[in-house]
């Protein structure tokens, strides 16, 4: 198996000086699914934002698919690494669902026919075919979450970064999203408070607290309540 993500001693302070990441090192293998858990403010989402170069830190190094994460590689990396934000209202910004799903593809330079084909296919997969010309505003929250996923998946990324994919969903919607995520045979890095979901979808668990990785290992840890409490969870 190849190493697809390599993070070395990554530190990052927010513009106001608050430290967010503190010498984080992490390797992710191809097709591995990793669950990153930890208390609020541990730096989980900040770490995700570094992995497709939205945030860039001078301290530490990141290699994605054997490319150093630099401005020259940024476009290439963003076409391979897709980030799905927690709030679908942020992820879906175009006037129609179709335009939203097509956004990434069009930016990648696909021709109109291919874009249309790919968008139709992915909308079918999330059971929303025929609803492409609606405004995202008219979808239910669960549907918005699914479309958010679709906007990233349609770009066929190698690595999928998911920020709280199951937050605020009802049981049925959560089940659908999880079934959908399970089917995706890609490298997945999932940040979540939903430990059940993480247990079902991820092979490896990474625990973060105060900007540090304090644990990395098998999912037995999720059963060890005392230890989790010790991690601040």
């Amino acid at each position: 198996m190849d190493k697809v993500v390599e993070i070395r001693d990554l530190s990052y302070n927010y513009p106001d000086g608050t430290p967010a990441l503190n010498e984080v090192s992490l390797d992710v293998m191809e097709r591995e699914s990793i669950g990153i858990i930890g208390p609020n403010g541990a730096g989980k989402s900040t770490l995700l934002l570094h992995l497709n170069g939205i945030l860039q830190s001078k301290n530490g190094a990141i290699r994605i698919l054997d490319m150093p994460l630099t401005d020259t590689n940024l476009r290439k990396i963003r076409s391979k690494v897709c980030l799905v934000f927690q709030d679908p209202e942020d992820q879906l910004f175009m006037p129609t669902v179709f335009d939203d799903v097509a956004f990434g593809l069009v930016n990648l330079g696909y021709d109109a026919e291919t874009v249309r084909e790919k968008v139709e296919k992915i909308l079918e997969r999330v059971d929303l075919s025929g609803r492409g010309n609606r405004s995202a505003h008219h979808l239910s929250f669960g549907e918005k979450k699914l479309v958010s996923l679709a906007t990233a998946l349609v770009m066929e990324p190698e690595i999928l970064l998911l920020d709280e994919p199951t937050s605020n969903l009802d049981r049925k919607e959560r089940r659908e999203i999880m079934r959908f995520l399970e089917e995706i045979d890609k490298t997945k890095i999932i940040v979540s408070h939903d430990l059940e979901m993480v247990e079902q979808l991820c092979k490896r668990i990474v625990v973060m607290n105060r900007g540090k990785v304090i644990f990395s290992g098998g999912k037995e840890i999720l059963k060890d309540d005392e230890k989790l409490k010790g991690f601040g969870l």
Partner: protein, 255 residues
């Protein structure tokens, strides 16, 4: 919470709805230009334009009351700016009134201008109402884009359309939160709270804009938004364009 007050009847599917959005934009633009350029005393011609608009509304199957009520929203603004014209325009006096020491005179010329402004603005807004309620907002934006309206304007409108509803939701939520905790009814205190609410909304909107930008970057955004064009002109579009333009110009140029 669901709203659809902007393009409420835009998915009815009548003949007018099915026309190519570009054709509709052009036709209504021409119609408005013609309306505005018609001399003010030609009331018959204005009635002609009104008749055309009426037929379009009937063809589109949108409730008449909806179109007319909506078209009236502009009237207060027009009145506010134009109501004083008859008092200040010189010329033939139509009537004069004395209030204490104030002497007000109304001129015929001024009245004509007022009537002109009212009729033209109302007919124009009526045209736009028909355009926007027979066309989906997203199609309208795409049509404008193809017709070379500056992209920045279209983007602003597009984001506005997408997030306006969210903003309204947020205002309602904040208002509910306030109402469930606020007991003091003094107006000054209420004003202060409204000030906080506006500030809160501004911060939330700003934060959201930042996050949306990040989401755009994540999907390869590099400064220009490209969308797929998906309109095709049909025979019926050309027929509509041709016949309506002919009728409009006929009315305008007929002596």
């Amino acid at each position: 919470m669901k709203h659809s007050f902007l393009d409420k009847y835009s998915d009815l599917g009548s003949i007018i709805h099915r026309l190519d959005p570009r054709v509709k934009v052009i036709v209504f633009f021409v119609l408005i230009l013609v309306i505005v350029s018609t001399p003010p005393q030609e009331l018959v011609k204005f009635s002609g334009y009104f008749l055309i608009l009426l037929i379009l509304v009937l063809l589109s199957r949108i409730p008449l009351s909806f179109v007319f009520l909506r078209s009236l929203v502009i009237i207060p603004f027009v009145l506010l700016t134009a109501i004083f014209i008859p008092f200040f325009k010189g010329g033939e006096v139509a009537g004069s009134y004395n209030f204490l020491t104030l002497n007000l005179t109304i001129s015929n010329k001024g009245l004509l201008i007022l009537q002109n402004i009212l009729i033209k603005s109302w007919l124009s807004v009526l045209s736009l109402t028909i355009l926007t309620s027979t066309t989906k907002f997203s199609s309208l934006l795409k049509a404008l884009e193809i017709l070379k309206i500056p992209r920045v304007l279209i983007l602003i409108a597009s984001f506005f359309y997408r997030y306006m509803f969210l903003l309204v939701d947020q205002i309602m939520k904040i208002k509910n939160a306030r109402d469930s905790r606020s007991f003091k009814k003094s107006p000054l205190y209420q004003l202060k709270i409204i000030g906080y609410m506006i500030g809160e909304l501004f911060i939330r909107t700003y934060d959201r804009a930042e996050r949306i930008y990040l989401a755009m970057l994540s999907r390869g955004f590099n400064g220009t938004i490209y969308t797929l064009e998906s309109f095709r002109i049909k025979g019926s579009d050309l027929f509509f364009l041709g016949s309506l333009a002919a009728i409009i110009f006929l009315i305008r140029l007929w002596r």
